[in-house]
């Protein structure tokens, strides 16, 4: 579930990045984070599949809930990192303009 949620987040972030085509939004940062994590969790999933075989696709409900909760938390963390980077870099000078007022 963590891998699945991260892949969805990566695809959405990439689609928004392509549609907006705006460097000042720093959407590339989100894409790198989600795709990097997706690739790494894919490797994790493959190794787990080699170990568990078919059982990998039938996780216990408790594990699935925990994994989903983790996936959502990971997305939340990535979004927080992105917002903090956006506010610190302030590519559009919004914060700077507000502070000068």
């Amino acid at each position: 579930m963590t891998l699945l949620l991260t892949v969805f987040a990566a695809v959405i972030a990439t689609a928004v990045w392509y549609q907006k085509n705006d460097k000042t939004l720093l959407l590339g940062l989100l894409c790198w984070m989600f795709w990097g994590a997706s690739l790494m969790w894919l490797v994790d999933a493959v190794f787990e599949y080699i170990e568990l075989r078919a059982k990998y696709f039938t996780p216990a409900p408790e594990d699935m809930i925990n994994d989903s909760f983790l996936g959502l938390s990971v997305i939340a963390l990535a979004l927080v990192i992105w917002v903090v980077a956006l506010l610190i870099k302030d590519p559009r000078g919004v914060i700077k303009a507000r502070l000068k007022k």
Binding site: M33, W35, A37, L39, M40, W41, L70, V74, I81
Partner: protein
């Protein structure tokens, strides 16, 4: 257990290499171009840029490492105090298992991310060539 350490180490090396390369490219761009291309021109800027592509790899690696570190913290495999890796407090067997996982899962992670980056390089190169090919076809 601590598989993200391997791509983390690669991320440090790649970032350092990209920063050094960026500095060299900046110095080279400041010099007059041997082919007669003026320094700082669009043509000279188009020639540089491998450091930018190295930063893509660094971005993928760092992004993955940060989120995977959080996952390991979630599962209690990493702790925010010394010795940081929970396996280090659980005896030699746990450390051996951790090292084995780093060598298998960690190395595969680093290799896969690097391979995907290599594919990105090939694709980006073909995309960069596209406008020139279209212009040639029109002429």
């Amino acid at each position: 257990m601590a598989c993200f350490i391997v791509p983390g180490a690669e991320a440090i090396v790649v970032t350092a290499a990209a920063l050094i390369l960026k500095q060299r490219e900046a110095k080279k761009a400041a010099l007059p171009q041997p082919t007669g291309v003026p320094a700082g021109s669009v043509q000279s800027e188009a020639k540089q840029g491998f450091s930018r592509k190295l930063f893509w790899l660094a971005g993928l690696l760092w992004g993955g490492v940060v989120l995977l570190a959080f996952e390991h913290l979630w599962h209690g495999e990493v702790q925010p105090f010394f010795p940081f890796l929970t396996a280090a407090t659980e005896g030699a067997g746990a450390v051996a298992e951790m090292l084995s996982e780093m060598a298998s899962v960690g190395v595969t992670m680093a290799v896969l991310v690097t391979a995907v980056w290599a594919v990105m390089l090939v694709v980006s190169r073909s995309i960069e060539k596209r406008p020139a090919a279209k212009a040639e076809a029109q002429a």
